[in-house]
Symmetry: C2
Subunit: 451 residues, 2 copies
Amino acid sequence: MNRPTPLSGFPEWLPAQRIVEQQVLDSIRRTFELHGFASIETRAVEPLDQLLRKGEIDKEVYLLRRLQAAEGEAEADAGPNTLGLHFDLTVPFARYVLENSGHLEFPFRRYQIQKVWRGERPQEGRYREFTQADVDIVDRDTLAFHYEIELPIVIGETLAALPIPPARIRVNNRKLAEGFYRGVGADDTAAVLRAVDKLDKIGPDAVRELLVTGAGLSPAAAAACLDLAGISSSDASFADQVKALGVQEPLLDEGLDELVRVVEGVEAVVPGLVVADLRIARGLDYYTGTVYETVITGHEELGSVGGGGRYDALASDGRTTYPGVGISIGVSRILGRLLGSGALAASRSVPTCVLVAVSDEAARGQANAVATALRSRGIPSEVSPSAAKFGKQIRHADRRGIPFVWFIGDGSDDGEGDSVKDIRSGDQLPASAENWTPPESDRWPTVAAPE
Amino acid sequence: MNRPTPLSGFPEWLPAQRIVEQQVLDSIRRTFELHGFASIETRAVEPLDQLLRKGEIDKEVYLLRRLQAAEGEAEADAGPNTLGLHFDLTVPFARYVLENSGHLEFPFRRYQIQKVWRGERPQEGRYREFTQADVDIVDRDTLAFHYEIELPIVIGETLAALPIPPARIRVNNRKLAEGFYRGVGADDTAAVLRAVDKLDKIGPDAVRELLVTGAGLSPAAAAACLDLAGISSSDASFADQVKALGVQEPLLDEGLDELVRVVEGVEAVVPGLVVADLRIARGLDYYTGTVYETVITGHEELGSVGGGGRYDALASDGRTTYPGVGISIGVSRILGRLLGSGALAASRSVPTCVLVAVSDEAARGQANAVATALRSRGIPSEVSPSAAKFGKQIRHADRRGIPFVWFIGDGSDDGEGDSVKDIRSGDQLPASAENWTPPESDRWPTVAAPE
């Protein structure tokens, strides 16, 4: 067969890039677990009727059918039970909570790091297969407000532990927006939200047009909505700016109060992390309170690398409702940018710290024994593929970034013992496989932070 | 919506079970990396023409199409570019090697832990979505034989590090089998192999019938093939038994020599791990040398929990060929059995080691600060969801298996300081968030080994 070519939208990493990804995922996992979030994984597939509950997303779903499915088999027809690949981790999580509610303790703190799939047109930062890392807290019947303050702190800490530039979390509140829209006389507040959500894409004039002709607002009301979207502050002062617009509505006041509490609550713990930004809408329609969007400083044009919010009715079996709040980190979007630009790199392309040289094939068993002794003390080691000249074996290590090459002595009492060579400096020192230890910074590959 | 029900063949774990899975996967990864295998992940999808290269598997493939795909769009027609979910990790790996050969160093040692999908009828140990953990070594043009000895040692060490009963690796050799079949006069050696592969399912009489009527063997030749399949030994003595059958064929001798080297080479390093078992066939047709099948002692009827072999021609772009050898561990099959039977269990259902109690909501900030201090020293901690009575907060911890509850003192000079209660023993001792440390065995959840 011919050499295969990459599939657009389905990124794959080379081994050294994968080491960066692994360390990023390990770090995210560690922070989540330190905060007491339990891991779950859900299956890759959901029935189509589950996937379409959110609306607006249907065109992005990949459906499955078996190659040898019988003619007319239900799953070939896009019926409600047809399986599709999940496009996010929130919808599967809501289904998991309902399905297992009898076996879970509430409030339930979970994290989930998995691939998701969307049949969208690929472009920079937008893939057809990508990895998300989600944290959510759900409770039964009611969910305490303090979790809306806790979650951005967790995400801020998670991103701060990664070798990437600082993150900023933009926060808004659905009650605030909906209350304001009602207050200026909007009948279809969802239509107003959808129009405002397009602000970055189509600009204020086109949004104004949409608000008047599409959402039926008066020109003055449309102007007020645009004014609202222009407000932002990293402290509680946004509230005064909103009040200065003169709109009266109890839901608006409730939303303002919540947003002030989130901004002040996070600011008190992690100064500079959050900013109230009243143009943040989040497209998905299940949010009912605080909404979040995360950008990386200096990479704002990449768009959101993490979003989420509070949802009150996503998981309900008719009798019991499980309100929740969650934020998702777009791991692939972050890595795609930082690996692509060379801002993150691994110190070597293999886990191996020591290559044990082989003087001739008859001595391979001895070399294996040395590698086994090193591994038993947690030092990643492999044995040279062949008994080539030592110069070639050293080049084998060098091309992979393996820092040390081990040479076995002749074993006689007065002869040479084992030695280990740091191939970066060329220093070669006597060593025993029973007690030699590399510098900690060389034991495993490390990942370099950007400038 | 109603409570959803599980999808047959798509297993999902509860949080405590997921902790077991995570620790199993972490352990597998660590052993692989200690042996110098580099991680890669491949996309979940491959073009259909790639997936069908192996033959015999086509009915198991899940094909994808976008919900909103235009009528007549190619991907709805199962053409060669239609995307399907991968059903193993070997075929995607061979494609990855060809695609990236210019960026890889050979011999290339890689491991890959990912989900795979097969549209088969689910039953115990057989899923539609499951996790595999593969190690392979590929080289360019030629592959040293010693890797066929190394790989079962790596897999044996990997499985020995898991809290499961001992594994046994059954080994055979395709050259041995094919040489023998040629030697008894078979024209279609693949048909003979397929018939012998059914031995466990349909029994010797039915296989004999298949060999005579299907593969065209004489009754004497069929009997010899069944005799061959009956041979096994944990040392090199199988070779004498084979020779006693009196079949002459150079390829048989080559295969016998290789199998002796594998059995003796592994036995010298890990006594009792391998057994030559001449009925092992492995269904997939790309193997060309040693083949492996792994069973867990006491769970033999579960079938193979790890298989693989040497393949010489799987990855070739017409000019260059990349021969390889690999073994895959069926992680889901192992976990399904051991979690299902209760033989493996986690010490708690959450990562949390300490629950910080909250005396009233106004003091939540203080509790957050304690949790932050504990986490900064690597102690997984969360804050109580509400300022309920302390008894209720302790029950909250108890239901999740969280071992410690932290109580904040009143902070006055002569008042009570902080204290921490081990809720298993009831012991409560003064403690400071700046230096208290739990016993190492309590810091993270642990997984109990089976009896």
